[in-house]
């Protein structure tokens, strides 16, 4: 497979994707038919395991393994959740999927649900994505008319209902247990694990939660086989990935590239390099919970790998140039996490608040000796003592900023 392989974006800009006929004409819903008439749920999971597809929602967990555990649960009721909550700053790839190819997502949702034995699926969409919720509603109607969902899909024994659940503005609700709480009508706070949602999830039933981008890989894998998929991209994590390129570059865009692509290639080849008159300072990879990288790290490859120095996260790449005020970035990161901390656990609730206060003092040039002494403690607590990963996320960019830009933050440096 060459570098040109397009799985998620193959129809973008080519067909009127909101038209189901156009999608079908381009080969759409063929994977669903293949699954229905030539495969079984067990052989479906097998292909996905062979593909070594891993989750695109950030954590990079093996999709096949997670699917298999839900499939194996003996329960007459199971749920599938498409996670389209997407609220990480800098991340709008899942919105682009809906804008450009809603039926690809639906086909993926239908196949994934049937594989694990769910007869009800929820698409949990960011509450600000009103237009996209509408696009999906129409797409669901069209798919139902064609018999791709509902009772007895294409006259098979499979049935599936899909419902759209629109969020109410809380970043933490992207975390799967918090998401489940919010569908159940509770505060969107994360729950302890185990039990895992794969065993006891939505309404107490086995539930598979997958990111929208992850799901869009499923039809391709079903059609072309897991072995073909595993040939694409990096050895450690095969497949392609959507990267969201933004900031001080020429081409602000969302591109699909094989995993294992270097940050330099993303910025220089696909982002068109630095915008006119802008000079690279650092980049943030994976959204506001992502690490900051300097020029020397540009050749790092982006792939899902637990040991990776630079986690891919959501695939967001924000290029920051020398004219940007680091104090404003600190304020942006810390105020985001302070606002979005759900408040359930003290280390995160307090830690995010204190970092934000320090960021405000830094901006006013009033950072104190005491602040400098406590910063490492706060970062340690956030990194090690919080209930869910949000607390850890809150420490990442702050840590890298203090580590790399201490002088600028303390305003000792002349402004250039």
């Amino acid at each position: 497979m060459g570098k040109e392989t397009k799985i998620i974006t193959k129809n973008w800009g080519k067909i009127n994707s909101q038209n189901i006929e156009a999608y079908i004409h381009a080969g759409g819903y063929e994977a669903l038919k293949k699954f229905l008439f030539e495969m079984t749920p067990v052989s479906g999971v097998e292909e996905i395991k062979i593909s070594r597809l891993c989750g695109r929602g950030g954590a990079g967990f093996s999709t096949g393994t997670k699917m298999e555990s839900v499939q194996k649960e003996k329960s007459s009721e199971k749920y599938f959740i498409c996670n389209l909550d997407e609220s990480e700053p800098g991340t709008y790839k899942d919105r682009m999927i809906v804008d450009n190819d809603p039926h690809l997502l639906l086909e993926g949702i239908i196949i994934s649900s049937l594989i694990v034995g769910a007869n009800k699926a929820f698409i949990c969409i960011n509450g600000n994505y009103r237009k996209q919720a509408h696009i999906l509603e129409l797409a669901i109607e069209r798919a139902r008319e064609k018999g791709f969902m509902g009772e007895g899909i294409l006259d098979s024994q499979y049935s599936l209902e899909i419902e759209i659940f629109s969020g109410a503005g809380a970043y933490i609700c992207g975390e799967e247990t918090a998401l489940i709480n919010s569908i159940e009508g509770h505060r969107g706070e994360p729950k302890a694990r185990p039990p895992f949602p794969t065993q006891i999830g939505l309404f107490g039933k086995p539930t598979l939660v997958n990111n929208a981008e992850t799901i869009c890989n499923i039809p391709w894998i079903i059609l072309n086989g897991g072995h073909e998929y595993a040939k694409i991209g990096s050895e450690k994590s095969p497949g392609t990935k959507l990267f969201i390129l933004d900031g001080a570059i020429k081409n602000v865009s969302v591109v699909e590239l094989p995993l294992g692509t270097s940050i330099r290639e993303l910025i220089e080849t696909h982002g068109g390099g630095m915008a006119k008159g802008k000079y690279f300072w650092f980049a943030q990879i994976g959204g506001s919970s992502g690490r900051l990288i300097l020029e020397k790290d540009l050749d790092e490859k982006l792939e899902y790998d637990r040991e990776a120095k630079i986690p891919v996260g959501s695939g967001a790449v924000l290029v920051v140039d020398r004219t940007v005020d680091i104090h404003e970035m600190l304020l942006s990161w810390t105020s985001f996490f302070r606002r979005e901390s759900c408040g359930k656990c003290v280390p995160c609730r307090e830690g995010t608040f204190r970092l934000w206060e320090i960021a405000k003092r830094a901006k006013d040039g009033k950072i104190s000796e005491r602040d400098l002494e406590t910063i490492p403690d706060i970062l340690w607590v956030l990194g090690n003592a919080t209930f869910c990963p949000l607390g850890k996320f809150a420490a990442v960019a702050f840590f890298d900023a203090i580590d790399n830009f201490r002088k600028e933050i303390l305003k000792e440096k002349n402004i250039n």
């Binding site: 800098g90 709008y92 659940f165 109410a168 809380a170 969107g188 001080a248 942006s332």
Partner: protein
């Protein structure tokens, strides 16, 4: 639409609690005690349970809204594109401070990413989104609301 009518549009099941709250909030501007009580009765849960959920979410309001509500995204991507200068400019022109509850007519709120990062900075005024806002453009935008 009356609150009863809104409620009857939903089956009284847990998965409809948040959608119903959002709808009531959007229709009446916020969820007041009277409507919360009706909702509690309809869903057969306690009113404290209603507010427990309602107060968690940004898109469900539990306080009366101001006639002019301005939200500015300060997410990292918008921050690299001068969002903070836009905020300062709004503060200067309207003589208010972000987050301040003092002025009953105008409220300026800083919010997180709105999923339009490529087109930032994003400003939302009474539900209308403005993209690629600059400190210079903000005056012309605000003019229409004053």
């Amino acid at each position: 639409m009356t609150v009863e009518k809104i409620l009857l549009g939903f089956d009284p099941e847990p998965r409809n609690i948040l959608p119903a709250l959002k709808k009531i909030s959007a229709s009446f501007g916020f969820v007041d005690e009277e409507n919360a009580q009706k909702m509690a009765d309809y869903f057969d849960i306690s009113i404290s349970r209603i507010f427990e959920t309602a107060t968690f979410y940004d898109l469900v309001k539990t306080k009366k809204r101001a006639p002019l509500e301005i939200q500015v995204c300060s997410g990292a991507n918008c921050a690299t594109k001068d969002a903070y200068r836009v905020i300062r400019e709004i503060e200067r022109q309207l003589k208010i401070k972000a987050g301040d509850q003092f002025n009953p007519k105008i409220r300026l709120e800083i919010v997180s990413c709105l999923g339009q990062c490529g087109n930032g900075p994003v400003v939302i005024i009474n539900e209308t989104a403005f993209l690629r806002v600059t400190p210079r453009k903000i005056y012309d935008i605000l003019k229409n609301y004053l």
